[in-house]
Symmetry: C2
């Protein structure tokens, strides 16, 4: 049975059920495991010796929260993360996640609507973690992200995107001119409909889906190896050959 | 510089600081990472093919919470965990962690003051995760744990203890006749004074201590490999030889 790709609507439903009666998880728990999986994926592909300086780009929603958690874990792994979060979310959890990064002495660029600080940061980074937009993204891309995405795309740096590459339509894929073209993707819980044709290295994280939910929704998730929190998926090209 | 072994008092202080201004962590986050480290340690030593049935013994405090998180992750890894938690803690977090296990269809023995159900469960288990008492333990061992510890000790099953083997004095070690004699120990954050002479395989987990805290308290934690959440420590005998 083929792995199921989630529509944005189903992804939203699963998220609600995981934090509701089906899962009973707190957002703290889910974000911790999701962010850890993001950090472990980046560390799997880009070693801290060759790519120590990670620019973690965070959006205003839950995806930005995953980015903050990932930044903290990357710091624990020995990377030198810097956070760019121009529109910090107002929820209590983002404030706490940000305080945890502050306590780890992880630098955050000043929130701002212009992209000057982003430009400088890109010039002194080795790899980007794109945690800007996730499965709740609805076009169009708004300021300052409309100016930021081309800067990130043209930086020449490798990009690891979280869940859905920023600028992509969650259901339809890479249809917008502003869409990023990441090298690596880490899907969370299950991959989204829009990333079916993604050509780079593709990982899955979020090893917390109850079996009953997986079966009811026929997610057909791949088997994670051992006690790993991430699993690499076959490349789109290879999967078609099978 | 040698790794620091924590007194019960210092362990308590660190726990408070991690959840206070020094760390700003929520208990959900710390328990999630601690419990994951416990599950990964057990999975490192006891394969799910040879030791599928894990009896997770949980105390009434935060250590029991770590056990519930570990049970859930063990279930995700493909083990068949069963929970024995005769005195469930009253805090909201234990109820949520228990509900998460229920949602994963992990069996919990009925809470009870007698040890009949524990006896049966021991007879159909392959390995024990001992999450009964942690660094807040103060003797004496109270019912039903006074009757349970000898049953666990005499079961002949391998034991993985969390943080401090149950029945051990946190500062003085294995001085009580009821103390367990585990094969494996997973210390959390930093090892406690009482386990200095522990002779089995010894792991460290809880990779969330801010560098500033580590330096201020001169913890001299060992380096974790790569992006692992656990690190194995040299055996007490080997360390003395060095």
């Amino acid at each position: 049975m083929a792995m199921r790709y989630l529509t944005s609507k189903l992804a939203q439903q699963i998220d609600e059920e995981l934090m509701g009666s089906v899962g009973a998880f707190s957002i703290d728990q889910l974000m911790e495991l999701a962010g850890l999986a993001c950090a472990q994926t980046l560390a799997t592909v880009y070693s801290k010796d060759k790519y120590p300086r990670v620019l973690v780009c965070c959006g205003p929603g839950n995806q930005g929260g995953d980015g903050l958690v990932a930044a903290r874990h990357l710091g624990m792994f020995g990377y030198k993360p810097t956070i760019w979060m121009p529109k910090p979310g107002s929820k209590d959890i983002y404030k706490r996640l940000k305080a945890q990064c502050d306590n780890m002495k992880i630098q955050t660029l000043e929130p701002s609507n212009d992209t000057q600080s982003l430009k400088s940061a890109l010039a002194s980074s080795d790899v980007i973690l794109d945690a800007i937009f996730g499965f709740s993204f609805k076009p169009p891309v708004r300021a300052p992200f409309d100016a930021a995405l081309p800067l990130i795309a043209n930086s020449g740096l490798p990009i690891v995107s979280v869940d859905v590459p920023s600028g992509w339509n969650v259901d339809e894929g890479k249809v917008d001119a502003l869409a990023l073209d990441p090298d690596v993707l880490i899907s969370l819980t299950a991959p989204k409909e829009g990333v079916r044709a993604f050509k780079g290295r593709h990982f899955l994280g979020g090893r917390f889906v109850p079996k009953t939910m997986e079966e009811k929704l026929q997610l057909n998730l791949p088997e994670y190896p051992g006690f790993s929190q991430i699993v690499e998926l076959p490349r789109a090209d290879d999967a078609q050959k099978l």
